[in-house]
């Protein structure tokens, strides 16, 4: 019961937004630019099989592989930078630099290397998502209490122990912040990746519809994409709450 009541507000806001949208769409009467929610819903129903069975799995696959690599890479980098000043000094600027390059400029290079396989799309996703994970985890690792670290050292703890017992728990809240941003970005990452060349996927489908002046067709796959993204986000939040249980008892 209480759970349901919690979501009332978000539901009300959602309805307000949808009604407003419907009204605006009805007024400007340009379905090809701004389709109304009902248009989109109808399109969604019409295309449900194609979207859910064909394009959704393709995109989800890119996102999951991309996020997986990002987490490994991001956390790995954060740990290396945390444990060695040299690595930090060397890589930090490079990591930032990697973020400043618009992915589209790199597209031909990715394709040169990976062709039109899934990997060029995964690479785009990784490039976009590993950064918030790296930065947040790295900042989180530095947030560990010095007093606790010292105490562990006096117990004969190795660097590794201190790391696992103090830095890691202290970094968890930061890591989750980063992961939440990354999950969200991964959806756009996959969509952009698909624009670089694809045969299937929700981003591909949406872009294709754009050339057809089919506004509802552009938005329908995006709704599916968003729904998937929100689901992933909620999953991360759930894991966060499970992992950081002790917070509640404070």
């Amino acid at each position: 019961m209480k759970k349901w009541r919690e979501h009332t507000y978000s539901f009300i806001l959602l309805v307000v937004v949808l009604v407003l949208w419907e009204a605006i769409a009805f007024n400007i009467k340009m379905t090809f630019i701004l389709p109304s929610p009902t248009d989109i819903l109808m399109k969604l129903w019409e295309l449900k099989k194609v979207l859910l069975l064909e394009h959704l799995p393709a995109t989800l696959c890119i996102i999951l592989i991309g996020l997986g690599i990002s987490i490994i890479l991001g956390v790995g980098l954060a740990i290396s930078m945390n444990s060695s000043k040299i690595i930090e000094k060397a890589f930090y600027p490079l990591i930032i630099f990697s973020q400043m390059i618009p992915t589209i400029a790199l597209a031909p290079i990715f394709i040169l290397w990976f062709g039109y396989s899934i990997w060029s799309k995964v690479l785009v996703t990784v490039l976009i998502t590993f950064f918030p994970i790296t930065i947040n985890t790295y900042d989180g690792l530095r947030a560990g209490s010095n007093d606790l670290k010292e105490l562990l050292l006096t117990m004969g703890a190795k660097k590794k122990d201190v790391f696992l017992l103090v830095n890691v728990p202290s970094a968890m809240p930061h890591f989750f912040s980063g992961l939440k941003v990354a999950v969200t970005l991964s959806v756009i990452g996959a969509a952009i990746g698909e624009w670089l060349g694809a045969q299937a996927g929700l981003g591909y489908f949406s872009r294709r519809m754009m050339t057809q002046f089919d506004g509802a067709g552009v938005f329908a796959p995006i709704i599916v994409l968003s729904a998937m993204g929100i689901m992933l986000f909620l999953l991360v939040k759930w894991v966060e709450n499970k992992t950081l249980m002790w917070r509640k008892s404070e």
């Binding site: 209490s145 007093d147 606790l148 010292e150 105490l151 562990l152 050292l153 006096t154 117990m155 004969g156 703890a157 122990d161 017992l165 103090v166 728990p169 950081l244 002790w246 008892s249 404070e250």
Partner: protein, 256 residues
Amino acid sequence: MIKTVLHFDSVSFRYPKQEKGPLIYDSMKFTVREGEFVSILGPSGAGKSTLFRLITGLEQPTGGKILLNGEYFSNRLGHVGYMPQQDLLMPWRTIWENAALPLQIKGSKQADMRISVEELLKEFGLGGHEDRYPAELSGGMRQRVSFLRTILTGSQVLLLDEPFSALDAITRLSMQEWLLKQWEKRKKTILFITHDVNEALFLSERIFVLTDPPVSRMEDIPVPLDRPRTLKALDIPEIMVLKDRLIDQLRTKATT
């Protein structure tokens, strides 16, 4: 011959951040032998906790050498059991997990740990609280967990920084008795910071008295009492005189 456990050889120290500030220790010398129970008294801010940080190896002397068991290590970390003044429990670990920390670091098996930790928790009046988080405990309970954690390091040398300051007289007494028993049975060497002159007299064989920094020599006062001691023994005239002398000593040090 009795082994020397700890030897300060003209040790000087100042905190690196206070580069221009005064020294806290200025070529200080002292020795602690195996199996001794030494209490350390001194005014607040004198450098008692700093002494422990030097011994554990968390700080390095600015000058001089610190010998452990007659040997000089440049890295002394992990050789002694240290109970810091603040309880420093990890908020994300339960009481049980906090206490078991040193065992975990040593790589003990879960099962072995369970038994020894739980037994001690019960003995310290913390039975039934194993699975609670530190934030749900009273100050004295947290202090006992911290003490327990230090004991579980299993070190032969224990540095205890005001371990019982948050305990009521009765709990404190039982903890003191427990500590003495351990000390006698296991031949531990104990350095014990306290502000309670009675506690120092009741527990220790020698008392070091620190002055305000910079400290170059600690007053070294033997306690003329046999074991086992009772609280009543502190009321005999000889000890009363000693107590007054100690308090006077602290007073003059604090005002000069």
